[in-house]
Every structure is written in C-alpha cells, then in structure tokens.
C-alpha cells in the first residue's frame, strides 16, 4: 500500500499544535517512515502542494488569507482534520466575537490598522471537517493515536465524556462541588486526564465543549455559588465562545432571575 500523503497546515494561531507533533521526539522517525509528508512549512523547507490523503489544519480562520488556504487544502485533501481548539472552536482569539470588529481593531492596531481581520472562526464555519482533535494545545497521546488509527484505515474514536470523568478516576477533590471554584470540567471534552484539577487548578475549558454539554445546569450551579453572569460566560467561553451555548446560558440566566424574583 502506498504511504498516505499528509499535509500539516497552520492558520492563525500560536502553532502550538504543530509543535506538539514536533515534540513527539521518540516517535518522529516512525511517523516520517510511515507517511509521505508533503507539506509542513513549520518544519520543512520545500513543501509540495498536491493532492493529499489527510490534511491536519491548526489555527482559526481570522483573515481572508486563512480562508483561501483552508479552501485550497480542503479541495486537495481526502480527509481534513482540525487540530487544536482554535481550529475546532475558534479558540481564545474568538473569545470577543460578540464585540464590534471595527472597534476591536482600533483598540488593538490603532492608526496602523489591519484591515484584513475577520472574526476568528473554527474551520467548520467554512468547510467540512472530518475529525477534530481539540486541546490548547492538543494532547500528544491523541495525536499519535489518531495518526495510528488513520494508518490502520480507521477514523479515530471521538471522546464523548467530559473532564470530570477523568477527574473522578484520578480521585481528585471536586473543585466545583467541594471548593466552590468555577471549574469548566463538566462541560469540557475529556482526554487531558483532568490535567488541571489534578494540580488543584480548576479546568479552564481549553479543550472546548463536550458533546451535549449541559451549560444551563452548570450556569445555574455557578449562579447559586455566587458567580456573576458575565464572569461565568467569560470563563466558560474563553476557549470556545459558541453562540448557541452562550444563548443557552442567557436563557437560563433569565429563568433563574424569575425563579428568585
């Protein structure tokens, strides 16, 4: 069987997800031997832009150029895999997407201007994404697993449980229930092994929402613990400000206000 042709691309982001691949020091030679790496500008001088079996794309679409690259890669790739929370959910850069773009640009770039900025969006806002690996940055273990699954002719398995599941397995104290901290664990896709709560820090939600995250319930729990609506939305939306989830929170906020009135 011919080796799969792979391309790795970065749109607007910190390139942290591409670095995770480069940090797989022990496995790099094995990876390079197993695939036909066509394009990886972060690590390679002479990329070849051709038809691809799999494209990994990190970063958010935050400027017209990103959009062009993405559409071009999508046309050439059999499978397109979003890597990192920016590519999957819009990431930190999209946390202010509810605010006026022109005002934000003035605030950040002053007179110098930067006319080409778009509200940062996940890849799925523009193209079909075949698989998503969230994380800020992605987990090395999942990246290797996903690569291996693809080499076996399979799509990787999606993680359908939140950070709490792994946090319970780690036998941690629950920072939300027992310490009253604003922990995003119940809403956040698992897979990091509950890294932050295992170090006594609440989960900041860097992996984005788990499937069917019950944001209304978490929102209410946090209101009852004394957090303010703005703070909750800001914290729950830091890495993934997903409009319909924000809407659910606002709706729950109104219900709660009625209940206590």
């Amino acid at each position: 069987m011919a080796k799969p042709r792979i391309g790795i691309y970065g749109l607007t982001g910190c390139a942290g997800d591409e670095l995770v691949l480069l940090n797989c020091e022990d496995e790099l030679l094995e990876i390079v031997a197993a695939v036909d790496l066509k394009s990886f500008v972060t690590a390679q001088s002479h990329p070849e832009e051709c038809e691809l079996d799999v494209a990994f794309v990190g970063g958010a679409v935050a400027q017209p150029h990103d959009r062009e690259v993405l559409l071009d890669v999508r046309r050439r790739a059999g499978l397109l895999i979003a890597i990192g929370t920016c590519a999957v959910w819009g990431g930190v850069a999209g946390a202010k997407n509810d605010q006026d773009r022109a005002a934000l640009k003035r605030l950040v770039y002053r007179e110098a201007g930067y006319p080409e900025s778009l509200p940062p969006q996940p890849l799925s806002a523009y193209v079909q994404v075949d698989f998503s690996l969230p994380g800020c940055p992605i987990e090395k273990k999942q990246l290797l697993y996903s690569l291996a699954a693809l080499l076996h002719g399979d799509l990787p398995q999606r993680i359908g449980y939140p950070v709490c599941t792994e946090c319970r397995i780690a036998e941690n104290v629950c920072l939300l229930k027992e310490r009253g901290l604003l922990c995003c664990g119940p809403l956040t896709q698992g897979g990091c092994g509950a890294r932050c709560p295992s170090h006594n820090r609440p989960c900041a939600g860097c992996r984005g929402p788990v499937e069917e995250a019950n944001v209304a319930a978490e929102y209410r729990i946090l209101l009852e613990k004394g957090y303010g609506p703005e703070e909750i939305v800001r914290r729950l939306g830091t890495f993934a400000r997903v409009p319909h989830l924000v809407e659910l929170m606002e709706k729950e906020g109104k219900k709660h206000a009625q209940d206590i009135a």
């Binding site: 496995e27 094995e30 990876i31 197993a34 290797l144 697993y145 690569l147 291996a148 699954a149 080499l151 076996h152 399979d154 398995q157 999606r158 359908g160 449980y161 939140p162 709490c164 599941t165 319970r168 397995i169 036998e171 941690n172 104290v173 629950c174 939300l176 229930k177 664990g185 119940p186 809403l187 788990v210 499937e211 069917e212 995250a213 019950n214 209304a216 319930a217 978490e218 729990i221």
Partner: protein, 343 residues
Amino acid sequence: MQTAFLFREKLGQFLAGLRRVGTLLAPQRRGKEGHHAFSEVEDPQEVVLDYTRTLLPLKKYFLPPQDLLFRFSVAEGYQMAAEGLAEKRIVFGVHSCDLRALQNLDLVFLGGYPDPYYAARRENTLLIGVSCTPDELCFCASVGADSVTEGYDLFLTELEDGYFVEIGSSAGNDLVQEQKELFREVTDEDVAAFKRRFKARHQSFRRHLETSGLPRIMSLEHASSIWASRGEECLGCGGCSMVCPTCYCFSVAEVPNLDGQSGVRYRQWDSCLFKDYSVVAGGHNFRPQRGERLRQRIFHKHKDFPERYGRSGCVGCGRCIAFCPAGLDVTEIIRQLRGEIIA
C-alpha cells in the same frame, strides 16, 4: 464462625506482616486535604481505619478504569495481556457495602461467561473488612448491605481495646495463624461488646430508602415527567458511575501502533449517563434525552438488577450523592417517584 481478638497496639505489626504476604492496599488520605482512597501501603501508620467512604470503590482493583485486554499483530496474532493478573494482593479496610458490591460484580463477571481478567484478580486478592460508622449519606441498611456474612477473608470490628476478628476463609485463618502472637482468643465480654456495638450502629442510620415494591413502582413511573425535569439538572459527567461500586459498564477500544501492523485492545469505564453510550450502529440513539439516561441508571440499580439477580443493584454507599457536582440524590428521586415528596 471462627473468631479471634487483635490487640489494638498490634495492628501496625499485623499490617506490616500482611505486606510480606502480598501487596497491601488500604484507605489512605490523598494529600493533606484530599479524599480517602485505596492505595498501596508503604507505611502502616498512614492507613486510616475510621474513614467514611473512599472516592473510588474497590472495583478499581478488579475492573481497572483502563484495562489492557490483548495485543495483536499481523505477525503474531492475538496475545492475551496478563500483566499484574497473578499479583498477590490484600485489600485491607473494606466496608460491608463495598464487600457486598463486589458480590454483585461477581454475579456479573463470574456468572454465565466468566471474565478471565476479573476472575484472576479476584482469585489472587484477599479481602479484609472493617466496621464503619454511617454518616448522613449512608443507606446501606436499607438495601441489605450494612453487614455481610461472606465474601471476606477477615472482618475486623473495632471494640474498646482492639478488634473483634471474624474469620471468613481458610486463607484468612492463615493470616491469623502466621502472626498468632498478635491475637488472643475471644472472650464472652468481647462477644457482648460486639453485639452492643452492632445494635448501636444499626440504630445510627439517618438515611433510609424504602425499597418495598420498588421495581413495580418504577415500572409504573417509567413515563413520569420527573425523569425529564431531574435530567435537566444532570451534567452528564458520568461521575456517579465512576464512583459507584456496582457500576460495571465498559467500552472497548483499540489503540493501534504507528507501524500499521499491530496494536492493543483495552476496555475502559463507561457510563449510561453519556450520550454516546446508547448510540448503535447507524447512528440511532435509543436514549437521546438526559432524563432517559438518568432513568436508566436508577432503573438498572433498583429494577433491572434486582429482577435479574434477586438483590439490590445499589449497596447504599452514598458515593453518587456525595460526589455528584449537580447535587442529584438517588434517594430523593426515588421518594419523588413514590409520591412522598413533590419537587
């Protein structure tokens, strides 16, 4: 029933002796402010006897959260993983509810189709129970799990100046005989003290679950609106299943290697509270709503398991109540179903 009396000041020595028999696992505190957790004993001084409940129950030693089943490769076919299965272990300090829960797991994993991994671990592990003091969340007495008459090698009940030891197996008897200088014979006064303690404990339960006719009531309330309304409160975190000593669902996954030729298969804990738990091939989900999933959990414990095995699927350990971040309480939901409270 064979019995013995262990001197209080000899407990540390007894535990040290157990470490010579196998890996000693017992409740210890995780960090200064952490929960109690069963973990390997390095220093017998660290073992806590008066703990209320560990976060994870005993099942982690017999059905680990992630359990390697076999390796496969094109060249060598399938090879069953056997790591750790033969390890000799002693779990010390197990409460009755957790012993009872293990019997439930035995019914499932040693019944019709014995599970070789579970069976081997079970075979090689000795269990030493210890008496406990119920807190406001314990309701084991309501589901017949407040005392066990089998399923342990030794069971220690704390009395004034030591431990009343019930010997439950010949392996348990060996543990006593090997260090018999630490024990004396039980006196009539010990038996009297044991009985007093038993009665006092039984009277100290503050939480009760009325189980009479429960499977029938659950059937009648299958379509109740309570499920949907309580389901909206559930975060779907699966925590209740992870911490539950009688939850045993797992999913199976393969982790292939980069060579494209080999890999491993393992199983890992799953929960019926997860949305993708009930998705079948073709994408249909037969429990798409949160309320239906919450109902599944309570139905399995209080209707399906009792109907199939003739005993409660819940041992009343209180963990799911203690650790649910949404504050859901199975005893309260059942009272609601029984029409005893309106919420």
